[in-house]
Amino acid sequence: MSVLRPGDRWSVDDVNRSRQFVAITGVAGGLGFVGQMVLARETVALFRGNELVLGLFFGTWLLVEAVGALAGGRVPLNHRAPLVYTLLLAANAVGLLAGVGLLVLIGTVMGTVETYGVLTVFLVSLAAVFPLSISHGALYTVGCRVHHVWSADVPAESAAVVYRAETVGTLVGGLVSSLLLWRWMLSVTAALWVALALFLVLLWVQRLALHRVQPAHLALGMITWILFLAMVQPLGASLQNTVLEWRWESAVESFDQTIFGDLLVLKQNQQTTIYYNSEFAAVYPDWDSIWSQELVYLSLGVHPHPNSVLLLSGGLGGVLEELDSVSLAVMDYVELDPVIFSALPQRPENTELIPGDARRYVFRSEKTYDVIIMGAVDTTSFQVNRMFTREFFAAAAERLGKNGVLVFSTPGSDVYPGKTLLEWNRTVFHTAGEIFPHVEAVPGDRTLFFCSQRPIHALSDHELLSRRWEALGVQPPLLSEGYLKQRLALHRMAWFAELIEDRPRLGINTDMRPTAVYYGLMNWSAMFSPPMEALLHRGAGWGQWLAGSALLLFAALIAWLSTRRPQLSVHWAIGTSGLYGMCLDLLLLFWFQIVSGVLYAGMGLLTALFMAGTALGTSWSEKTMKDARSCWRCLLGGDAAAIAIALSLIAVGSSMSAITTDAAAFLLFGTLCLLAGGIVGWQYPVAAALQIRIARERSVSGSVYSSDLIGGWAGAVIGPLLLFPLFGFPATLGFLVLVKLTSTMILLVNRQVFCDLPGN
């Protein structure tokens, strides 16, 4: 097989083959993306549904992918390239299965590990994504080489064509993962499907490489396809069950996977235990009765005449049972994942079960309630934190009647709260205080907060509480006079009030600046990774300064070095675009989650739209590439567009939280993802072309791609772990503006170098 060079004579078969190969790279890209989504979801579920893990996951993915891309760039430009591509497809398929298998396996042995910190998350992500992402990264650069070998395109054009095809494939993969995954199949089943499809693509490449149809290959493909069609669904379910049975020693009663999370029900020693996203959620029949009685009866007791009650999630494990036993005119229970309702041991008689997002229910509903009780406690995730923000409290206040009370809780301690819990409770207390003039905190293993527009007397008047319970016809057995004397001791409440009365260091918790997430993250670190907790404490004081000064110092260094090596300015431009793109993509994903309440389904579609934007940007910029000067202008134009988008988002700000329909949310955030992706895509080919002109290399796709991915990695790690919770969304966008300004400045510093390049 000879290598075609520009100017060589082309046959129709060659043209057809290179076109088919472009389609192959698209399909492979799409399948890789679906695989990535499956792994991302399993990783998040493994670490208890905490979506901050996504940053580390995507960061690790990009890092390994960059290594793969660099390694792929070393494959020689000859007839062996298609063979390497075929092997990489096989490695992709096996890698996905190995990754999912490993995550499921880690999930099963986590009970014996019983500890995890940021390092563990990174190592687990690394182990899980390594086989798939390294081969996925190499697929791109090797794909560029195969395309170059099979076509007359120059390397930069091949790079752009393959990049575009991969991203179009990713868009399709994103749609597939959003619409099909977890609605119709388990993650294990999805991984099997993707692996099978990758093997079929492998056969396709082989057919192209050998220049003729191999009947044996086709037959093998068909047989495998038919066999898998029949087997893959039950096989996936069976594998999942086998692993769970192994972990829980045959105690598994059921396992459900939805677009919201995983629900596992165990039955052992006459006890039913429910886990949601690998985290203990509830136990029957002997639930935590003290907690459920405190939450329910204290909430009812602080209102003079409670008739209507709204319970927002957290009904499992006694709370709903206690509420349902009280005679109330209206009792509504809103829960995001309908599978939770199916886990209730018996359907409540007096309660209306409302499936849906609790936050959106509060924003949309016209009804008013005497008491609103929130069951969620831990604000470590954006998903839960959106119920503890000023915006949410304001909406909840609108839903309350004249003497209405909002009751919620946060992790606490009735012995010693520690720095982190104190700041966390302080933050929530002052956030509620922005909306409610009267906020009372009762310390305990979970701090109970009672918020109202009117003074709450009953907490300090136990006789009043008893009278109100009597009027309701209830006598909570555990909340005896002696117990109340201890639990609601005035000196203890005063002690705690004194501790939390100071303003929180990071300010109040809002949709746009979710500071409580930062404290949740800190608490998580406190348990599993104490040095990280100390670091985050310091970060709360120094984080913004450190990030800003580190960026400026580093940019100054690059600016200085780029006067000697001008290609550094291109790498900086594309690296910062990678960082900008990834940060903005994750920011929009979490912002979308705040508005809509959905993560997994949105994750696929929005990321795919981001990639579609990348593809569109790539095609558009290819049309404008003429000479070095125009490329340089394109890079500057990309930076200007990036800055403009970030500034517009800062301007629009919190008004986006008011969106209450799915269609509007998808439309708005989809468009924004498309635009953000467009910038990265727009800059990539021009950066590659400029780099070729500066470095006078034939093939630079690997090094430019790696700069893009390394920038993306940095964005994925610092975005969710530092910027979003510590800076908040507006300041993060401000930081991104600064990042792109440094890129613009460095490009401007080197203006003369680009204008003097040959070919202008």
Binding site: V283, Q486, A556, W560, T563
Partner: protein, 385 residues
């Protein structure tokens, strides 16, 4: 090209100016940082502490701490495993002396102490630090941290503890929340003072104190609660990074000293709930401490680093209790299951309820002058002040 860019000197200059401006801004922010509430004090940079009572010098500057089974060998400036005892130039100093981080008034049942003045209140204290590393620790924010990591501490020397106990009119004080062995000298000085003032001293321990230290302290102590966390060395090793043998020795020392003793066993599913182990433990308790030693089986809930396990099934706790009773123990209760029948205390002979408890609340005590009012059997414990 060089004249177009920054020179090295200019770069360094601008970096210096930038960093200076950042530091200045930060200092200004520090001035506006909120202060601690008045009742609490800042953590001292280098707490004065108090010389410890049980250690020996090895060589010029090394010391070996003798207060617990670990016997940490410390060079100058090193801190023990417990984070509380520091070698300062050849002297072992307790840095948490007089600096409790948690102070509360609790019902005595919370210890748990079911046979020692039931229904009374106790003044409880705890500092930072612990010599165990239990994966299921309830007070890990206190026990698994050092003094300098505390959010706040109270400046309470022993004299203040006495004043506070008297002002709150509590009959007993208790050293609890974290392991008191790690602040032995503070506990010892307080206990001596309380003894003189007629106030009881209780402590809740993991039982890891060495014999000499324990025997020196016990004359001033009225009651002890010991966590017997499991009954196998492997459990202690894997889940607590500790040893069982020293705990069993401590239990025997306390019993021989005639101090009232109660034992707690937190039953953790799949970790220490094996029926054979529970039977062995119960038989050992009967043989070595006597059948009248109260034993509390406590229900585990997901906690600290052990959050993946389910709560202990109540049937498991009931099975443990049955086995302990069959082994011959007279007073076996079930804790952390509010409202359970065996929150209460029953007469071992006539099986009548003697102390009606609901969780930590005592509703009624029938015991009269240390005897069952229904059959007259003597009921072990301390029932009157």
């Amino acid at each position: 090209m060089r004249e177009k860019g920054l020179t090295r000197r200019q770069l360094l200059k601008w970096m210096g100016v930038g960093l200076g401006a950042l530091y200045g801004g930060r200092c200004a922010i520090n001035l506006l940082t909120p202060q601690l509430p008045e009742t609490l004090v800042e953590i001292p940079d280098e707490p004065e502490g108090r010389d410890t009572m049980f250690y020996r010098k090895v060589g010029k500057e090394q010391v070996v701490c003798e207060v617990c089974f670990r016997r940490c060998r410390l060079s100058d400036g090193q801190t023990g495993f417990c984070r509380n005892r520091v070698n300062r130039s050849g002297k072992l100093v307790s840095i948490v002396y007089g600096l409790p981080a948690a102070v509360h008034v609790d019902p005595i049942e919370k210890e748990p102490q079911y046979h020692f003045l039931p229904g009374t209140q106790i003044l409880c204290m705890g500092t930072a630090g612990c010599n165990f590393r239990c994966q299921f620790c309830q007070n890990w924010r206190l026990s698994q941290r050092s003094l300098e990591e505390m959010a706040m501490v109270y400046d309470w020397p022993p004299e203040t503890v006495l004043q506070e106990a008297q002002s709150r009119s509590v009959p007993s004080i208790s050293f609890t929340y974290n392991e008191p062995t790690t602040f032995y000298e503070y506990m010892y000085d307080c206990a001596e003072l309380m003894h003189q003032a007629g106030i009881n001293t209780i402590f809740h321990t993991n039982g890891s104190m060495n014999r000499e230290a324990l025997e020196t302290l016990l004359p001033y102590v009225s009651s002890v609660t010991v966590d017997l966390k499991g009954f196998t060395e492997s459990f202690y090793d894997k889940l607590c990074h500790a040893e069982l043998e020293p705990v069993l020795k401590s239990l025997q020392v306390i019993k021989r000293a005639g101090v009232w003793l109660e034992i707690v066993n937190l039953v953790i599913p799949d970790r220490n709930d094996d029926p054979n182990t529970v039977r062995d433990m119960s038989e050992w308790l009967v043989a070595n401490l006597g059948a009248d030693t109260p034993l509390h089986f406590s229900r585990f809930f997901p906690q600290y680093r052990l959050t993946e396990l389910p709560p202990t099934p109540v049937t498991t706790l009931e099975r443990c209790r049955d086995m302990a009773m069959q082994a011959g123990l007279h007073y076996v209760s079930i804790g952390n299951v509010p409202g359970h029948e065996y929150n209460s205390t029953f007469c071992p002979r006539c099986e009548e309820r003697l102390v009606e408890r609901y969780h930590f609340n005592v509703h009624r005590v029938w015991v009269e002058e240390g005897r069952c009012p229904f059959c007259g059997r003597e009921i072990a414990g301390v029932w009157t002040m």
